[in-house]
Amino acid sequence: MKKVDFDIDLHHLSRVEGHGNIHISVRDGQLREAQWAVVETPRFFEAMLKGMGAERVPFLTSRICGICSISHSLASIRALERAMGIEPPEEARLIRSLAMHGETLQSHALHLFFLAAPDFLGVPSVVPLMQSHPDIVKAGLQLKELGNELSIATTGRATHPVSLALGGVTRPPSKAQLLRLKALIAERRAALALATDFFGTLEIPQFVRETEFISLRDSVSYPYIGGDLVSTDGVVKEENDYLQMTNEYLNDFSTTKFTRLSRESSAAGALARFNNNADLLHPNARAAASAFGLEPVCHNPFMNNVAQLVECHHIVEDAARLVDRLLDAGLTDLRASWKPRAGAATGAVEAPRGILYHHMETDEKGKVVKADCIIPTTQNNANIHFDLRALAGQALAEGRSEQETELLCVKLVRSYDPCISCSVH
């Protein structure tokens, strides 16, 4: 091993959502320190929520995140519906599922093409790719647009949903919108095929650090809204027992908390969903996974990129199914009436970046007494931190230069698709 000294100090890492720093220190060829420090300004949503009327809550919690606002809205809605014993009608459930698909597709496309791909092609952003790889960028934009169109039809707009409400939805997609979505999905399968071929040509770094993957599982369909909380180490808990899955603790270098379950850290996200639910994917998505050699349980965090692409296949097929069901439905029974009451419950959903928990306690007027939100990236921050140490150690052992080590480390962090402002909230 070469005796090298260097420090990697990346302040406000680019092409991720929010503010995080990477510190790596090497002396005499030995790794002294590897740290993932989140320096985001906290917004204190749990304090803001205190005393707010239940009806307003999803409009506030959606503002936790500009990318996964639909997930936050639905996690709060699910928590409050369970707390107050509200049963949303089946048609509203279908619309909500389609909304989740739209958000996840939009988020995965944004990450894969805008945030991750430039690393693999050695450019600073997607802008130069518009010249060098115009077809690929166009395919990425078409998939992202399809995701946004699904969200607009189901929730009123792409970011910060307007029509998701306690008890159901306030307005359904029109028949014209559904027909347009049907045509758009059929047309955009070509873009997905092109994207899949393209990502197949990229070299995924070889790195394995065994960890515990946590996600939802309901054993009926690939998970999005509600279900059991499961881990690849065999833990199974009921939704309301979410605190036993997260075990949050504070550290002295981040404004985000860390979490753990059976090991020093755990992971959430597309790869965790895949590792726990690969059997429930659409056959097209399973075929895409096989083509990439992705099998459960995969412990290479760089494969999260591939897992996201595999999920895009599942989403496109399942969205087509849901649109057909909605076209056949009357779309008249959209919202259950409800009365406020005291209660407490957890709502767990699979946001694009992983399992998201909102826990809400209400008083008899339906006002929030206590709220708790545990974000997927919060659950990944410890795993990123310990992965960085292992990856930097591996890079040194392989005799890689400072520049190569730095590139590997930023690629690793971006593979998690961290949503940092969300994780601090």
């Binding site: 680019s14 300004t41 204190f44 749990e46 304090a47 803001m48 600073p124 952003s125 946004n148 307007v162």
Partner: protein, 255 residues
């Protein structure tokens, strides 16, 4: 690129975020069908969320988020000193946004609620204009990409960008929606600045005033409307405080 026979250079843009969800910046990457044309108008010099290339020679700074920590004040002042035009975009930047909901509590209590005993620095959420001079504001939670496109095109063509002066009700009526007051809801459409195409009331969801007050609004008449419809004043206040856009009006009412 020539426009009306004149050679026009690209405007150099930087996009910066403070305390926020980054949803407004994300809108810049939306409206995918016109994205290549939009990007052809601008030279992105600094935009951490989408590019690892960062330069400090931008003419227009788009600033998202509110200010809640002292290091943000310093960073914002540097951006102001560099940019020729500073645009506050999004409701957090323009009014303090939902972040201001924590301002009603002592900040120590807010920190204790979330971080137990740990010391975390925070201060009451303030809008950008309270710290530095703002040349132009684009409100909205999130901003509408159509409006951002309009403003950027105006700036590129050296014309003055404008916002609608009238309230959301005008756009809501154009969309032939049933008035939410008639459905028994307090809606802030009558007093909120238009420009969103009444997206919330069109989804049968009450306007919460993310775009702040319309010009020449009659606030007293609005509170009368709520009372005359037999609707809840408490609900009205919760909505008026949601984005902190009506702090001036509420201040007058309460004093």
């Amino acid at each position: 690129m020539k426009h009306l026979g004149f050679e026009r250079s690209k405007v150099r843009v930087g996009s910066f975020d403070f305390t926020c969800c980054e949803g407004c910046q994300l809108q810049l990457a939306n409206k995918e069908s016109t994205l290549p044309e939009f990007l052809a108008l601008v030279d992105i010099r600094n935009f951490r969320e989408i590019s690892s290339e960062r330069h400090d020679d931008y003419d227009i700074a788009l600033v998202e988020g509110s200010i809640t920590r002292s290091d943000e004040v310093e960073r914002l002042r540097k951006i102001r000193a560099t940019a020729k035009v500073l645009v506050a975009y999004g409701t957090c930047a323009c009014f303090g946004g939902v972040n201001s909901l924590k301002n009603r509590l002592p900040q120590e209590e807010v920190v204790r609620e979330v971080y137990d005993g740990k010391k975390v620095e925070t201060m009451p959420s303030t809008r950008i204009a309270d710290i530095v001079k703002v040349d132009f504001s684009i409100p909205g939670c999130p901003v509408s990409k159509e409006e951002v496109e309009r403003v950027v095109v105006s700036l590129v063509n050296r014309s003055l960008p404008t916002l609608p002066r009238y309230p959301v009700c005008v756009e809501c009526k154009q969309r032939l929606n049933t008035c939410l007051f008639d459905l028994g809801e307090v809606c802030l459409g009558p007093i909120t600045r238009a420009g969103c195409d009444a997206v919330c009331p069109s989804g049968k969801s009450a306007c919460l005033g993310c775009r702040g007050p319309a010009d020449d609004l009659n606030f007293r008449s609005f509170t009368d409307l709520v009372r005359d419809n037999g609707l809840s004043t408490e609900e009205m206040l919760e909505k008026l405080r949601f984005y902190n856009g009506f702090a001036d009006q509420l201040g007058h009412e309460e004093s």
